[in-house]
Symmetry: D2
Subunit: 345 residues, 4 copies
């Protein structure tokens, strides 16, 4: 930790700072420059991270030298993590190709969509049963009935399933049906929920919040990891931007940044990032080319009657064409997509 | 609802749109311009709001003509709402002056701070017992013990108390101790939690999320209102901005915008909006001058040892000076601050 | 300047850093913490500011300890600056109340508007003759003819005039007619133009760019100051935000932040900040209450036929009402507005 | 153009709107919904685009149905444009691989860098002679001497050269030396400069402004096109974001969006978008995979002594490795990079 004192800090203030640092059990290393005095604090930074050092009179700024996350950091785990989602490997060269409708709908439709995306090469099936909707009057999902449909359809087509959990009281129940628990963007800093999924031991798909920095995202992952659950997959799904031509602003650089800072896999979600079907293929290719560990796409066979987010869904045929393109990008980077038309064993 | 068709929409597409609209039980009013065809949908917009009309082939854009919130709208309730917080009126000309430390700390300190802010004219006391912290390793609050301290200190100094609730499982428990439940910025779209506080019948202080539009904020209020709880106070506390010289970007215009669109009271929180004590007085004056229904300020008597957010706390003497300034602004706008040094009855 | 080395920087890298610093003529002060090595550079920071120290192998971050602007800084000039605009004092307790239409229009209309705003207490008249328009097909201003009208109307109503200059080739010509030269938001980092107005010796009204930090704004002021022109007035006019309910996001905290960092006056422009007449009064009051040195408002007597920005103009009667409110705020802060109905001498 | 009237618009207001529309020479088509009245305006939208219709009493919103740019639009020119930069084709399947140092420096260094990037497959050489620097005290470029060096080195290595122009008075002079004129991000809405380069008939590389929407970018292109210069290449170089871990936020989706809306080529600049060499390769691959018509990268052989932007430069060897990756992505999309080690004829 480095303290930068205000220009014009008095000797009395400097003395108080040093006294305060030493009282906390650290050594202070003074460096007096031409204009400013700097105090290096020698010792275990973690013990100091949450001390309000910036509130000490005369202190202008406090600079940590270590990242605030530990378990999520690349330093703690230099190798890429590989997360096992009920038999599907994700990370360290293995790609998660997640597809399915926004909401779980009626069983026949789910079956048709699952069959189609499986044939195109998807290896994880998605669908929301508990939907966080901006409006209290919008469709909120089928609940546990939806989970049953999702589980059944996933089993039939040999794909593990991922679904969103929004309520800490439901984590255990959702975990009975789902192979992976999704934390949505709006809940990325719902620390109560993060703590619960951290206890569940199910893999967690953690979506980046709309105004979360990469540091914030890794801190939220740290919540899950610190509960003893190491199976976290991150997801870039766009952040809030000023150009409303797209639903969000797809921050593709965050993929590379996360991979420098952390060992956790990170996938991209071009469906939510853009909100526009015609932009999804370009962003899916971009995400994979940037090095993402997978792609999450919403697919629906009749978007004009979808229960939610119909306008951003790809048709199965569009998804199939996209998967053809993605296969090429994956090979270029020496990553392999699951074969299409082949059953997972 | 207005549908704008794509330029070059075919007659077949136009016919399908009209058919689709009529099948939903609405009348369609066609307007063919020089370049585009527009379809006005005649009927109850609410029933259509969540239909994926934009996913219909040939539809370029869907424009609602009514706001998506109902109970929160000015149309539904032309008069300003007045919220009663255990005897303190907020809204419709009555100001909420909320002050206290970020976290509930030991009883003696709480007592000293409460006495000071009460003397300066605060009428609601604050303190967090369940703290949503970015880091799992940071102080998470005193929990129920903190609530007891807060309640006791509030009673002693004749101020109702407000505290944050973060877990739907705790709402009933927190509501036993607190006069008002705070939903923090990170939980503004935690719809599960909003639903629970909507059922609680305690007044709710709903803080704006860091990337929430004013529309999003009012939709979250609608969640609470739609559960039958009409006592919602909104709070502007800064949104995410690109200039990290301040912690957030204080959106003072949102105060006036909310007051046009909604009848709900809205207060400002310059402590979180700026994160810098030296900017708090200017922003507090600005918020009140813009028409806010109150000001929320964090106050601590020894910021350098505060359990959380010490660096942004005002000292009691600074708060007292600020309250003198705010009294002048309030009078200018014909609003009245509680007298200082006087007990509430 | 402080260099923070990468964790794991080798001894060879550390030696190279020190060598490099010493070769530049500075002393290096090494501080080896538990996890990181920090190098304090002792000497005149200005000489190092533009050296690419961050590109040296092993350097993770470079932290300046002084602000990058000098002439604009509060340190260089502890007293508030007072700018004389052809007899109207701005700054250090004196308020600039700037009003007028977006574009200069026909003489009769200009005369009517000037008379009205003068009667309400405006002390500087505005109007654009060279308009930076997003579209090449939109009205681009009356050019030099507009300047003549503006000058004449200003003289008749005893108000100095401010108008935008957009072309470095026109600075001398515009300066013949105008008492103050405006640099618009889109040109805030047009350094060629800043240099020209810096040479002109006319007061400069420098508007903040839509994505400029406060630091960027002060650096642009430094361009003008460094040419020998000390008469710069800054203007907060909103930055780009994610909520398109308002045209821009009015950053009222920047007023207080600028006043801490700099001695230059700063005014607010709620017309461009909000783009909505119904929000202008609240934001004007907020800006003044935050401590701004003046308010800039667009006024037009028939917005529905205005040549530009009609939808955001206040009517003269609305401006008059606003000025009544602002007079109250000004008095509260011991600042004085020019009397209405009285001629300036 | 569609006018949406306020709910509660009076019959008198509706009549005035229709009268106003008809007085402008258009037909009005009234559509009265359950809650709102909508007025469709039939006729040539261009003639109405700049009329302040939103300022008419009773009008809540004005919705154009056509994009505000014409020459830049895909409708006006359904085929991709191909821009000839002194023999190098850009667009319609041909990639611009632009590389070189941020600033033009001494001839020997320029020669070494040009030789290296040419060998790696670059086909256009870059270097700034007039640098728009945030600080007036920073290196401002070598001026005309720099242009001479750039031209000479480009010729020697058979690459056309691109360089930034910042002053409308210099356009003709810069155009004598440069094969393509660059408009930097800070000047994207410097309409005076856009008009001058529009007259010059040199190809123009137009970089997106830091807070420009895609619509703004296309409007700035329209300025150039409307002067009779059809040779515009757009460049996505990152927009302002809230996460300062990267210099800007690389908006890769804008590539696909521009290609839908416009026929103009668009390239990406991952150097400025990220400001971090370690993220440049991932973003370069992402941009090309999204469909960009080229990649612009800053390369320097000794970043720690570079005159500007050293910390974000790639070394020649890093650039060479990146070009190997980009060749694979280009082939995947059936686009072809120039061969490395081969002279252009």
């Amino acid at each position: 930790m480095i303290l930068i004192l205000r220009s014009g800090a008095t000797q009395e203030q400097i003395d108080h700072v040093i006294e305060h640092v030493e009282a906390l059990g650290f050594a202070a290393h003074l460096s007096q420059g031409t204009h400013r005095t700097i105090v290096g604090i020698i010792g275990d930074e973690e013990r100091l991270r949450h001390a309000p050092l910036k509130a000490i009179a005369g202190v202008a700024d406090v600079l940590p030298v270590l990242p605030p996350y530990k378990l999520a950091s690349r330093e703690a785990h230099p190798q890429d993590s590989l997360v096992d989602v009920s038999g599907v490997a994700v990370g360290d060269g293995h790609l998660a190709m997640i597809a399915g409708p926004c909401s779980v709908e009626e069983p026949d439709r789910m079956d048709r969509i699952a069959e189609a995306v499986r044939a195109s090469g998807a290896n994880i099936f998605r669908g929301g049963a508990f939907k966080p909707r901006t409006s209290p009057y919008a469709f909120q999902g089928l609940g546990e009935d939806g989970l049953k449909i999702l589980q059944q359809v996933g089993k039939k087509h040999a794909m593990p399933v991922v679904t969103e959990v929004t309520d800490p009281r439901n984590v255990a129940m959702v975990a009975e049906y789902a192979d992976m628990l999704q934390i949505g963007a709006r809940n990325m800093q719902n620390f109560v929920l993060l703590t619960e999924v951290g206890k569940s031991q199910r893999p967690v798909l953690l979506k980046r919040g709309m105004s979360a920095t990469v540091n914030d995202l890794l801190m939220s992952a740290e919540y899950v990891l610190s509960q003893g659950n190491p199976r976290v997959i991150l997801c870039e799904r766009g952040v809030k931007g000023f150009d409303n031509a797209t639903r969000n602003l797809f921050d593709v650089a965050s993929v590379a940044l996360v991979q420098q800072l952390s060992h956790l896999p990170i996938i991209v979600d071009p469906s939510h990032a853009t909100g526009r079907p015609e932009l999804i293929p370009a962003c899916a290719r971009a995400g994979l080319a940037a090095g993402a560990d997978g792609v999450h796409v919403e697919v629906h066979d009749c978007p004009e009657v979808a229960k939610s987010d119909g306008p951003q869904a790809l048709l199965p045929a569009q998804y199939d064409e996209l998967m053809g393109q993605l296969r090429g990008v994956a090979e270029l980077l020496n990553k392999k997509l699951p074969d299409s038309q082949l059953s997972r064993t």
